[in-house]
């Protein structure tokens, strides 16, 4: 499973000066497609929080954070701040996924489709793994059923490889299961 958004831990601080020999070190966890973008995002957020810029700061470490248990399903809650056509809003969204990167990717695509918000207008405030009891959204709670059972109603049979795909077919497909 290749994910578009990777989670990075970025650590940086302002450059040491004569007045401040050991400036405070700041660490951020953020999502970006690659390391370069992650470093840039780090300075963007840090500029908004402290009086430091990339030109008078130094990057100390950047590491990618990988999912600890990619084989278990978790409910992720994501708090975000996004810019719509009329202003900034906060949102809380829930996703069921095996990895946090997968959930964040779902969030970006859902925001784009449901609210027409592009990637650069979204800021992830916080993410958390939510235990099943504390989930707020019905669409995630409906899968909290240990005896879940549903039929697959619409089944289009696809060619097993893209090479065998044809534009025209001799007969109409049978979509029943």
């Amino acid at each position: 499973m290749s994910y578009k958004y990777h989670q990075f831990q970025v650590v940086g601080r302002g450059l040491p000066t004569e007045s401040d020999e050991n400036p405070k070190i700041y660490r951020m966890k953020l999502w970006a497609t690659n390391e370069v973008r992650a470093k840039s995002k780090f300075w963007y957020y840090l500029r908004k929080l402290k009086k430091v810029k990339k030109s008078n700061g130094q990057m100390l470490a950047i590491n990618e954070i990988f999912e600890k248990n990619p084989t278990t399903i978790k409910n992720y809650g994501i708090w975000l701040r996004y810019q719509s056509r009329t202003g900034y809003h906060n949102m809380y969204k829930e996703y069921r996924d095996t990895t946090l990167n997968g959930a964040v990717e779902q969030m970006y695509t859902e925001m784009a489709s449901r609210h027409r918000v592009r990637h650069h207008c979204i800021q992830v405030i916080k993410t958390a793994t939510i235990p099943a009891k504390l989930c707020k959204r019905e669409s995630t709670k409906q899968f909290h059923n240990s005896k879940i059972k549903f039929p697959l109603v619409f089944k289009k049979v696809r060619p097993p490889t893209r090479k065998l795909k044809t534009t025209y077919k001799a007969s109409r497909p049978n979509l029943f299961v």
């Binding site: 499973m1 990619p70 084989t71 278990t72 399903i73 069921r96 996924d97 095996t98 995630t140 899968f143 240990s146 005896k147 879940i148 059972k149 549903f150 039929p151 697959l152 109603v153 089944k155 049979v157 696809r158 097993p160 490889t161 029943f176 299961v177």
Partner: protein, 133 residues
């Protein structure tokens, strides 16, 4: 026409697209409307889209997300392998695989066997025709 094959924990499905094409996997949990957590004795547990799965009639008795040992034991208890290989769907797939893996000498042997079988059938047919004539 009510539905007979449901997506449920323990349902065996055949993978019909992608890297694991042709494998039998067990649906071990449902992630959301489109994806299931899927496991098989020879693969790491992972997620799969329902579009890549075709449900079968076989279902085993497991709890939500069992560990590998329990899963393999449950598959042995339900005798999935034999049930699949004796089912008409399973047999057809085995024949397809065999046919695709024949070399030229095997195809020659098949041709001889077909001719022999056709000869025997025609003899019996001639006998029956003589009896009714």
């Amino acid at each position: 026409m009510p539905f007979k094959r449901y997506v449920e924990i323990g349902r065996i499905a055949l993978v019909n697209y992608g890297k694991d094409y042709g494998k039998l996997v067990v649906i071990v949990d449902v992630i959301d409307q489109n994806r299931a957590l899927v496991d098989a004795p020879d693969m790491v547990r992972g997620q799969m889209n329902f579009k890549r799965l075709t449900l079968t009639d076989i279902k085993i008795d497991i709890k939500r997300v069992p560990n590998k040992k329990t899963l393999i034991a449950a598959m042995e208890a339900a005798d999935v392998k034999n049930k699949w290989e004796n089912s008409s769907w399973g047999r057809k797939l085995i024949v397809q695989k065999k046919r695709a893996s024949l070399n030229d000498f095997d195809r020659f042997k098949v041709m001889l066997a077909k001719i022999k079988k056709a000869g025997v059938v025609r003899q019996e047919l001639a006998k029956l025709k003589k009896e009714t004539a």
